[in-house]
């Protein structure tokens, strides 16, 4: 994603928070005016006390006004902070909502390809990364123009020399900053890269410490760590020495403006100069006033500089966020379509189904034909890469149908409403996700119609109660963060219980017995027998031993079904299945 696109996307969010940003800018401008008034009052008091020898009592009203102005400034600062936060809140709420919705709409296939961790970090950290830009940078940008301009014009009205000093030096700041900043931004990125690489190297060393130790290299590694740190330090410092020039320039210009103002005014008092004041006499009050304004002139620019990294952060975040949001949605996300007519179970008819992925060399499915009768238990076996998973994803409508036809009870699957179709089926994935909540919550998946009794029945049927009894609160035990409390086999049994609890006519199981120890495998196989009753069940597996329990077995190879029949039939046919079965009881690949 080129930076300009990220910027465009960021700018498209501006209108969402414009009122708050505008309010922040107004408050900041008023605050700027207060600073000018405060400078005027201070200058007046000092002038009166110093030159006119006015007694303190006579100055009380001015002191009081000073306090009021100060109070107003403090209040404005406070409210500004809140307004900036509001702007950021609005934006982050919208962006997170959009992102979450879009990610869900992109569907399981997209998530599998991009992986959970980067998606989560985009949704959490990257969205947070927008904060500084909207809360601080965006309001400060106009203020960095308005306030210096206000101060500069005020000075210009009093003395054209001081006014010119201000109005010439102030724009030099952004000018130089841009000049240096162009390079500095790149340098900063490089610096950041260097630093993170240094951290990564250290992490890598720690991760490999056991290995290093086993090879007796661990003490030697200290030297390597020292030299690499040293190398990184040198690299980083070369970068920083240039990057810091921009802050030096800001400092330089501030000092120059102040010093020139002071010297010009001082020499004017001493009658060395007699110009630049529109022929008005120069009082101490005017002089001090102008002097006090000089540092304030640069303050908004300095703040903008401080928030500049927020812009960079937001641009980085925008690139990632918008690249997800610009991801086109798959066509299967349709809420239209008819509902499925179910009288007597679900039968499926797959004809000439082919499917290819853009990155695959050969089609994942190639002219697949398969009929699944209502109420039967069909096992689909085949090596990994045979197309089992693609077939499952087509049935679940995670993937759009590219070629051929799939009919459910005579109705084309593509004509059905996705949500309605999914209501008829239950799915037990190989690695089911357990959600935050109790075991029972994970069985019901939030279905309020399930009675306690039904939950218990499902738990018993799926052999969940077998381990739930050992848990502190049985089915009411929380499964822990990401289901940590339960093992892989136990999690799969919970997912089986989900399938039991759902009154579905079709169950799709993905490798229900893969990588389980003997005990879990036995329990799950027992549960499957139970689940198959009164349902159409499609089971993907590469374990022939598990497949044997099914009514029929379909053998897949190279994207199509090559053999179908019962275990006995297939053995008698002495085809691929028989070959696999006799060569190894372990696996079919």
């Amino acid at each position: 994603m080129p930076p300009s696109t990220s910027l465009t996307w960021l700018q498209s969010l501006h209108h969402r928070c414009r009122p708050w940003i505008s309010l922040t800018v107004v408050l900041g401008s008023v605050s700027g005016a207060c600073i000018i008034i405060q400078a005027g009052l201070l200058a007046h008091i000092i002038h009166a006390a110093c030159i006119d020898a006015a007694p303190r009592e006579a100055l009380h009203p001015f002191f009081l006004m000073l306090l009021v102005v100060l109070g107003v400034r403090a209040l404005l600062t406070w409210v500004r902070e809140i307004c900036g936060q509001k702007a950021s809140t609005l934006v982050r709420r919208t962006v997170r909502r959009k992102l979450l919705k879009h990610v869900q709409a992109l569907g399981p296939m997209y998530i599998r390809d991009t992986q959970t961790a980067p998606l989560t970090s985009t949704l959490v950290e990257r969205v947070e990364g927008l904060h500084g830009y909207f809360a601080q940078y965006l309001p400060q940008k106009p203020l960095a123009l308005i306030v210096p301009l206000m101060i500069g014009l005020t000075a210009l009205a009093i003395s054209w020399v001081v006014g010119l000093i201000f109005l010439i030096t102030a724009p030099l700041v952004p000018l130089f900053m841009i000049m240096i900043g162009r390079g500095a931004e790149k340098l900063n990125q490089k610096n950041f890269q260097l630093l993170s690489r240094m951290s990564a190297h250290f992490l890598d060393t720690l991760q490999g410490l056991t290995t290093l130790k086993l090879f007796q290299r661990s003490t030697k590694e200290t030297e390597r760590l020292a030299t690499s740190s040293e190398r990184y330090r040198r690299g980083t410092m070369t970068v920083l020495r240039v990057a810091f020039l921009s802050s030096a320039i800001l400092e330089f210009l501030t000092c120059v403006a102040l010093a020139m103002t002071a010297v010009f005014l001082g020499l004017s008092y001493l009658h060395y100069f007699d110009f630049g004041l529109y022929s008005r006499p120069l009082t101490l009050q005017t002089g001090l006033f102008l002097l006090l304004l000089a540092p304030e002139l640069f303050l908004p620019l300095r703040e903008l500089g401080n928030h500049y990294h927020a812009r960079a952060e937001a641009l980085g975040a925008a690139a990632e966020i918008s690249s997800i949001l610009h991801q086109p949605l798959p066509p299967s996300e349709q809420d239209k379509g008819r509902s499925l007519l179910v009288n007597d179970g679900i039968s499926l008819d797959l004809r000439h189904v082919s499917h290819s992925f853009s990155h695959g060399q050969r089609p994942a499915l190639n002219d697949l034909n398969l009929h699944i009768k209502a109420g039967e238990w069909l096992a689909i076996v085949g090596a990994s890469g045979a197309g089992k998973t693609t077939l499952m994803h087509l049935l679940l409508r995670f993937l759009p149908l590219q070629q051929g036809s799939i009919e459910v009870n005579g109705q084309p699957l593509t004509s059905l409403n996705t949500a309605d179709w999914l209501r008829h089926l239950a799915w037990v994935p190989q690695q089911p996700t357990l959600f935050h909540g109790t075991v029972a919550d994970n069985i019901t998946m939030g279905d309020p119609h399930l009675t306690q009794e039904q939950i218990i029945t499902a738990a018993r049927a799926a052999q969940v109660d077998d381990f739930a009894q050992d848990l502190t609160s049985g089915l009411a035990t929380a499964v822990g963060e990401q289901g940590k409390l339960l093992s892989g086999g136990q999690a799969r049994r919970v997912a089986l219980a989900r399938a039991f609890a759902r009154k579905s006519s079709l169950v799709i199981l993905d490798e229900p017995t893969a990588s389980l120890d003997g005990e879990n495998e036995r329990l799950i196989t027992a549960a499957l027998q139970e689940l198959a009753r009164g349902r159409t069940m499609i089971m993907l597996t590469h374990r022939l031993e598990t497949a044997r329990a099914a009514d029929r077995i379909a053998v897949m190879a190279n994207g199509s079904v090559v053999e179908v029949g019962s275990h006995q039939d297939l053995l008698a046919a002495q085809g691929i299945y028989a070959g696999l079965f006799f060569s190894s009881g372990e696996a079919a690949s």
């Binding site: 902070e81 959490v124 056991t210 802050s247 400092e251 000092c255 001493l270 998946m445 990401q482 120890d517």
Partner: protein, 581 residues
């Protein structure tokens, strides 16, 4: 503060840089005060002098204007030097911190890191160290600078009038101490809640994204999204509350610095008029005080940082202060004639665990040149049993001997020479393939490296890479597939050529084809080695000289695969359907 002391001590070797950085920080602050105060005084004094022509000509303009110029230059140069040197110091400190941590952790590894098995937690240690390295720039330096500014400005004001110094110091302390502490107090609870809410959101989002398929099939993805958005709203409102507190504190800082200048001016006017000091001093005092408050600005974030640093220091010290689990002999024992390995009634419990005993009275033998397998359900103690031979831990009871010599009598070098461990957790470094191999034998030449690759059946793959052995693994380099990674680990072990091999589920996570290939390679290389293999692979089990079946930290039975199927019911049960027909 006590937990920070070890880290403050790390600054000592860099004291030159530290002093220099402090000097420039202070110089920058003082130059700014000087610049404003002197300019104010110069204007006032010259205005007074300018009232009459005579005094105007008497007025020395060169000293003050030279002063102004000097302060301006000092400020500019000081700022630049401060930033460069502060970062230099920080980076040097970071390097020291890492080496310090590494040298602390190295003797007790891997036992102490065992709790940090997951990459996340190790990552947190690295982040913690990065956090700690800001201790100087973000916390110590601003604090010392603020105190110095307070002391110097306070002293100068005290010379003029003690009352002025008192007013200045009161407001200065208020802004530098009171407000940050107040802010911290107000923000602590809300900050903790924000962190918690953030963690909740992250955790639930991970589940939801991971389980999108499950959610869609069960038709609850819309509802789950609503839950996450509600949690998000809660986070946002907490953050707004935090912003109100932060805004309040910023406002108070503005108020305090303004009040300090106003109050000092208020006190100074009668003093000046009474002739205690020159009238031009009024501007000097006011402007100087206004400028001095610059030193206070970094303090509130510094205190916030201090909290984080404290927590990080705590976690780091917890790791480094763990006692070393084992110590090695320094004088080598006689090398054993054969590598007959015996475990005599070993009992072992992991330190700091709530779990029970990991091994109960385990007696076990790995005969020379034998291939022995350990089998059992996960958590039965297989890995522990293997790890005891590497002395990651020592058994609580019983002893392990190699060729009759107690394991503890060998030096670390001797032990590492004898035993090599290959596991799915063996680390492949983000370095070139060559570097990864050279870890096993730094002196190995090109021929030896390729020979090992050939034996590990990885030579064709490496030869096919454009950069061959110099291909970088990891970021920006070749990503090794699971099978290739295991082969590289195998090649490394072959290069080391130890007589005793421990293989902890070396094929876990590989597909069948790669698993079979790996095992074939392994069997082809078994010549003259004792191998202890932890595996579930039935095909491999059939070829073992001896199998030990374990459950709950005990050895249930042992023998050859065929015999165990007949004699050991638990084994048969465990192997279950894995048994070939």
């Amino acid at each position: 503060m006590k937990s920070l002391w070890p880290f403050i001590k790390l600054l000592w070797p860099h004291r030159g840089w530290v002093m220099l950085a402090m000097f420039f920080t202070l110089l920058t602050l003082l130059a700014n005060i000087g610049l404003l105060a002197l300019s104010g005084w110069f204007l006032s004094a010259s205005a007074v002098a300018g009232l009459s022509v005579a005094s105007a000509y008497m007025f020395d303009i060169f000293t003050p204007s030279a002063g102004i110029r000097a302060f301006a230059i000092a400020r500019t140069a000081g700022r630049y030097a401060e930033r460069v040197i502060a970062h230099e110091t920080t980076l040097r400190l970071l390097s020291s911190l890492r080496i310090w941590f590494y040298t602390r952790i190295e003797p007790q590894a891997p036992a102490s890191l065992y709790r940090y098995r997951s990459g996340d937690l190790l990552g947190r240690i690295v982040t913690d160290i990065d956090t700690l390295d800001t201790l100087f720039v973000r916390v110590l330096s601003p604090t010392i600078a603020a105190c110095s500014v307070a002391a110097i400005s306070g002293f100068l004001l005290w010379l003029l009038a003690p009352a002025l110094a008192a007013v200045f110091l009161i407001f200065f302390a208020g802004a530098g101490l009171l407000i940050p502490l107040l802010a911290q107090r107000l923000a602590r609870r809300i900050g903790a809640r924000i962190q918690q809410q953030m963690a909740t959101i992250r955790m639930n989002l991970i589940e939801d994204i991971q389980g999108t398929a499950d959610l869609i099939v069960y038709g609850v993805h819309h509802r789950h999204r609503q839950f996450r958005l509600q949690e998000n709203d809660r986070l946002l409102s907490l953050q707004e509350e935090m912003a109100r507190i932060n805004g309040f504190c910023t406002a108070m800082m503005t108020l305090f610095s303004g009040c300090a200048a106003i109050a000092a001016l208020y006190l100074a006017i009668p003093m000046a008029q009474a002739g205690r000091f020159d009238g031009a001093m009024l501007a000097l005092i006011t402007f100087g005080i206004l400028a001095a408050f610059e030193a206070v600005l970094p303090l509130p974030p510094a205190y916030q940082m201090l909290g984080k640093i404290h927590a990080a220091a705590h976690r780091i010290l917890e790791v480094t202060r763990a006692p070393a689990t084992v110590s090695f002999e320094t004088t080598p024992a006689a090398m054993p004639a054969d590598f007959d390995i015996m475990y005599h009634a070993i009992t072992f419990t992991y330190p700091e665990t709530t779990g029970g005993t990991a091994l109960h009275q385990v007696t076990f033998r790995l005969a020379p040149h034998a291939m022995v397998a350990l089998v059992g359900p996960s958590g039965c103690g297989k890995t522990t049993l293997a790890h005891l031979l590497t002395r990651f831990w020592d058994p609580d009871q019983g002893r392990i001997t190699i060729g009759g010599t107690d394991l503890r009598r060998f030096t670390e070098a001797q032990l590492r020479q004898m035993v090599t461990l290959v596991s799915q957790k063996s680390h492949i470094f983000n370095a070139t393939l060559r570097d990864n191999l050279l870890i096993a034998d730094p002196g190995a030449d090109e021929k030896a490296l390729w020979a090992a690759l050939v034996r590990a059946q990885l030579a064709d793959f490496v030869a096919g890479l454009p950069e061959g052995l110099d291909t970088w693994n990891g970021e920006g380099g070749a990503r090794l597939s699971g099978g290739e990674a295991r082969r590289l680990i195998l090649a490394r072990a072959l290069l080391k050529n130890a007589p005793v091999w421990l293989l902890d589920e070396p094929t876990e996570g590989l597909d069948n084809l790669n698993r079979r290939r790996f095992m074939e390679t392994l069997f082809a290389n078994r010549q003259g080695k004792s191998m202890l293999l932890i595996t579930h692979d039935v095909a491999a089990l059939q070829r073992m000289d001896q199998i030990y079946f374990m459950e709950r930290g005990r050895i249930i039975c042992h023998g050859r695969h065929r015999d165990l199927l007949d004699t050991c019911e638990r084994y048969r049960h465990f192997i279950g359907t894995r048994q070939p027909t």
